[in-house]
């Protein structure tokens, strides 16, 4: 029989790690966030000045809005695409195992390599997209996808939105736990493929929907490589997000306090986003 002492003992390593590598750094971030520091000299206590300058900076507002767009793309485009792909592969069409591997493959390639790949795919003069459009007589549609502020943010999101392999695998795993008898019964009742998806599969993978939304929201909050390597946050800050804002404030502007303050705001936004996600899942649960 497990005693409460044993429970605490088993939890101790995880708790210790959390305190050392999360709680203490978070306190340190708050400590620096209230100070003016260039990374070398002495720190000066400035109270909430760093937060004031953050909220007065239009670039920070852009970064917050763009991060929210990333999260929305994760929830409303990336996750449904992953679900769609999983629904197709769950029907086990010819070569589905190969397709599953191919769809998952981008998830084991470094994001840096993918960012550079897509930089060249979308490049204004060398890019596959523009040259493809020109080749089929649609040259008028060619444009600087990454250098036009009206398309740059969406162009940044393309690799993330398309590479749904990880999300798809989570859905497939959950789908594999559904009893085949449910489908057999539905078939006897004359249910179409869409009706089986609509009334059996989708409702029974709602836990996977929740998990995927949580994972993708966290991924979007941490998103750094695509905006940095594909557009550097530009043009004119149009693709700046919170991670890149923090990086710039610290590495280029030497404003460590501002960077840490932005980090704390990101944590707060992340907490709110997660609360909303969990509230949504709970409401969905109750509805059913």
């Amino acid at each position: 029989m497990t005693t409460s002492r044993q429970i605490y003992l088993y939890l101790a390593p995880a708790l210790l790690m959390t305190v050392v590598f999360f709680v203490f750094p978070l306190i340190f971030v708050l400590f620096v966030g209230l100070r003016d520091w260039d990374g070398i000299g002495a720190m000066t206590y400035v109270g909430l000045d760093n937060f004031r300058s953050l909220f007065a900076d239009p670039a920070f507002k852009t970064a917050v809005v763009n991060t929210v767009y990333w999260i929305l793309a994760g929830i409303f485009i990336h996750t449904p695409l992953g679900l769609l792909l999983a629904l197709i592969l769950f029907k086990k069409p010819a070569g589905w195992k190969w397709l599953r591997t191919i769809f998952f493959l981008p998830n084991v390639i470094s994001t840096t390599a993918l960012a550079f790949l897509w930089y060249f795919v979308l490049h204004v003069s060398l890019g596959l997209v523009n040259n493809g459009l020109k080749a089929i007589g649609l040259g008028s549609l060619a444009r600087g996808w990454l250098s036009d502020p009206s398309t740059a943010l969406y162009a940044n999101m393309v690799p993330f939105v398309l590479y749904v392999g990880f999300t798809m695998v989570i859905f497939l795993t959950q789908m594999s736990t559904i009893s085949p008898e449910l489908y057999e019964a539905a078939e006897i009742d004359g249910a179409t493929g869409w009706q089986k998806d609509r009334y059996i599969t989708i409702p029974l993978v709602k836990n996977a929907v929740g998990i995927n939304i949580v994972f993708n929201t966290a991924f979007c909050l941490r998103m750094f490589e695509y905006p940095l390597l594909m557009t550097g946050g530009g043009p004119a800050d149009s693709t700046l997000n919170l991670s890149l804002y923090m990086y710039r404030a610290m590495v280029t502007a030497n404003q460590y306090g501002v960077s840490m303050a932005a980090g704390l705001v990101t944590v707060a936004i992340g907490a709110v986003a997660m609360l909303l996600v969990f509230a949504f899942i709970r409401v969905w649960d109750r509805k059913r």
């Binding site: 340190f28 260039d38 990374g39 070398i40 250098s147 550097g232 946050g233 043009p235 590495v251």
Partner: protein
């Protein structure tokens, strides 16, 4: 509260030290942990030198040659080890972290910025003033030594200070019927129109990182309109002359490649060295990247002027001083070894190696014979002559801005190019960012 702050500060320092230890950039070479070399001991003194000059570049090869030569001459006594990180911004960040963690690198280089004296004011750099004897002092211009002296201490030794010139592709100029490089900005824009009418993209520009090629153009334009003191520390940036320069810069964006917005140094320079553009404004380090078959087509020229007498024809924009600094040493013998190496690094012989082999121009004095200039190759020879004839100079604006303004520069330039703001708004925003 004060106690908590102190505790957190100590913990922060400990964290930084731990991070450095984990990333493998601490210990052996750090000044704070002298291993007891010297002090009468016969043990070889180890000095670690941080640099971004990788040995696949001309300047990296030259640096290795000089260091190897020094090590050979001082075998068994002093050994300098190169620690190369080709990523310049990452190297600079590492240096700053090391200084903050009290593990200042033995020797390192950086871009001197009079508006960012955080390294000098850290109190952790070696003051070379007591070692600056007449012979060593004579190797430098008085003006350079003065510029690098902060609070009466010379913690940086002048080294690289390259003039930035206009490179142009003679073949593309010929194709557009252009006989010579323009002398005034009016002629320059006419040349751009001529090139453009022949389907040739006139100039390479970029906006990412430090927007180097673009800020070279901007500095030339602003100095041409307001003189070489236009960006002196303390002077406002939102003047009518600087706004006018921004207006010209905006016009220049009409003559560049579509990938200039968001493009970085390699995108911009590749456009020139592959013949996609007819001009670029850059330093001598570009020469090493020009392919052999392209080299005969390339020439260099001084910048155009506005002919208004604000600057003398032939003036140059320069890169920042990129001096060498060293850690304050607890061990006097090691300190003397560092100074001995710095004297060797800035000697006439080493300077010639850096210029002729490494294709970089230095602050140190040097007499090159006609044969040596020829030996440098056609482009570098022409470069040395043009740069040497410059009557006055100004440091590129990006090297004198405060870090807060530098971080905003790419988006400001992109906003200007895209018409998001007027030239007047651009300079106002730049001035505001420089005050932060």
């Amino acid at each position: 509260m004060r106690k908590t702050g102190k505790w957190l500060g100590t913990s922060a320092a400990a964290l930084l030290a731990l991070a450095l230890a984990v990333s493998g950039c601490g210990s052996k070479s750090a000044n704070g942990n002298s291993d007891g070399n010297g002090g009468g001991s016969q043990k070889e003194i180890d000095i670690t030198m941080l640099s971004s000059w990788s040995t696949d570049t001309e300047r990296g090869k030259a640096l290795k040659t000089v260091v190897d030569r020094f090590n050979q001459e001082n075998a068994g006594k002093i050994k300098v080890t190169l620690d190369i990180n080709p990523d310049w911004p990452a190297l600079q960040q590492k240096v700053k972290t090391m200084i903050a963690a009290n593990q200042t690198p033995d020797i390192f280089n950086y871009n001197f910025n009079p508006n960012d004296l955080s390294r000098q004011k850290s109190g952790k750099l070696l003051d070379f003033t007591p070692y600056m004897d007449d012979a060593w002092k004579a190797r430098f211009n008085e003006q350079d030594l003065k510029a690098l002296t902060v609070d009466g201490q010379l913690t940086s030794i002048p080294f690289e200070k390259a003039g930035i010139l206009f490179y142009y592709n003679k073949e593309l100029f010929d194709k557009a019927g252009i006989k010579q490089f323009p002398k005034t900005w009016d002629e320059f824009f006419q040349v751009c129109d001529q090139l453009k009418s022949k389907g040739i993209t006139p100039i390479s520009l970029m906006t990412a990182d430090d927007a180097w090629h673009t800020t070279n153009a901007f500095t030339y334009l602003a100095a041409g309109l307001a003189g070489t003191s236009v960006f002196d520390p303390g002077k406002p940036l939102d003047t009518p002359e600087v706004a006018k320069a921004a207006e010209y810069l905006k016009k220049l964006f009409n003559y560049t490649t579509p990938d200039a917005l968001g493009g970085n140094y390699s995108v911009s320079s590749n456009n020139f060295i592959t013949g996609n553009t007819a001009m670029i404004i850059d330093g001598p380090w570009l020469i090493g990247s020009i392919p052999a078959e392209m080299a005969p087509k390339i020439a260099v020229a001084p910048a155009p002027t506005f002919g208004n007498g604000k600057v003398k024809p032939g003036f140059v924009v320069t890169d920042a001083y990129t001096p060498w600094s060293a850690a304050k040493q607890q061990d006097k013998t090691k300190e003397q070894a560092v100074v001995q190496f710095m004297k060797y690094l800035t000697s006439e012989e080493s300077s010639k190696t850096f210029t002729l082999q490494g294709q970089i121009l230095l602050s140190t004095k040097m007499q090159l014979t006609e044969d040596e200039t020829k030996q440098a190759g056609p482009i570098l020879g022409q470069y040395i002559r043009t740069n040497g004839a410059a009557s006055e100079s100004i440091v590129n604006i990006v090297r004198t801005l405060k870090p807060s303004a530098t971080s905003k520069l790419p988006s400001l330039l992109e906003g200007l190019a895209l018409g998001k703001w007027t030239p007047e708004e651009f300079v106002k925003r730049l001035q505001a960012a420089n005050q932060a």
